[in-house]
Assembly symmetry: C2
Homo-oligomer: 229 residues x 2
Amino acid sequence: MPPKSRAENRAEQTRAIQVTGRRHLAEVGPAALSLRAIAREVGLVSSAVYRYFPSRDDLLTALIIEAYDELGDAVETADAGVRDRDDLAGRFIAVGNAIRDWARANPHEYALLYGSPVPGYAAPDTTIPSAARISGAFLTLAQLSGQRGDAVPQARPVSAQERQALGGIRQALDVPLDDERTVRWLIAWSTVFGHLSLELFGHMYRGILDYDAHFAQVTGQLTADLGLA
Amino acid sequence: MPPKSRAENRAEQTRAIQVTGRRHLAEVGPAALSLRAIAREVGLVSSAVYRYFPSRDDLLTALIIEAYDELGDAVETADAGVRDRDDLAGRFIAVGNAIRDWARANPHEYALLYGSPVPGYAAPDTTIPSAARISGAFLTLAQLSGQRGDAVPQARPVSAQERQALGGIRQALDVPLDDERTVRWLIAWSTVFGHLSLELFGHMYRGILDYDAHFAQVTGQLTADLGLA
DNA sequence: CACAAATCGAGAGCAGTGCTCTTGTTTTGC
DNA sequence: GCAAAACAAGAGCACTGCTCTCGATTTGTG
């Protein structure tokens, strides 16, 4: 075995801490994540971990970015898997299903990303690019739908204040998007994550008996409301 | 001052613990809520608190029920405040605004109710009646809309599995509700709480510049989608 | 090559947490 | 009046995040 350089060793240890941190996260959730427990498993004393992550929050930040990117990969892969690129309804449903599948497979990670923020933790700007991949997937489909001129069904007139409120999104887009459509897609965004949070956090318990069927019904309805179907 | 009986004293202490617990909850959030800190402020030693609440989770349960009921009161008051009882769109918007106003005024309590569940905590059935008041407000409006025969716009055919999945809700209703309408209202439910969670947990930051305007636009659109407007 | 500087792991320690158990006191109900 | 129940206090356990110090090892440089 070749003697490892200090830089190699550092990278290796950092990765080891993060991967066992990730496993602990998946098992006990963000709130119960313990630096000391991670250190024990990696074979380090607790204080040594601080050489690699200045604080528990910094480790959490790394895990948040990792999770966002994992979810982003899942979403983009699912979208790319739809043969007919013009089937925007199919792509929307594929994206929705990808998010839900990932969330159900990684409930604690989903809670870390979209649940209550952990106390005292302020998400640094470094998480934004990875987080934006998810909403970006929706916005890309919205742009495509706008470009081909899909009608926006039942669209309500957009208030002047709302037009202004959408300025942040307008700026982030390369292709302009009419406000009526933007509102519809933002609603779809809220609906999908609302459904997931209500489902995963137990609020549909005993009310809805088949989450799969209901989610499919909801995303199907959303494709209609978005003018895709 | 009259000497208090043991029962009086017990009720008083229990209430004192819960109210300072509630204040701490509002200040530091559910995860950082500390029994010891509460005990210090009430003027008790930490172990004495266990005479009143067997565990931290039991205190949390009491606070959850308190919060649900407070939100339920706000919702029902808001609905009752709408003069024209036939203005279901107005009542829906009033309910939505009441939920959002309460959530923004009590973000930590909202996180406790609708955010990630606290680790190791399993909500006992005692929380269900209070929690059901919120969704019940929506379902009441749905029933009224169904009774007067509002059309459900753009309704998609409801799959057989979904019809079965809605059995849990159907049972809880006194007045029957067509499945198409039920789906629409469940979507509205997800959309409202999705919006709130995304807003309060920071996911709209820098994207949507005026949360008030956007929420108004969303609820307005929902009234149209529900066939109320 | 030598040596100072930077890096690292280990250990002790601090302040905090939820929770349990024991001990002595006070109030209750028979 | 007295045994029983309820109660507050305190000590203690195992755990947490985090800081500091102390040697050992690896680095880059004169």
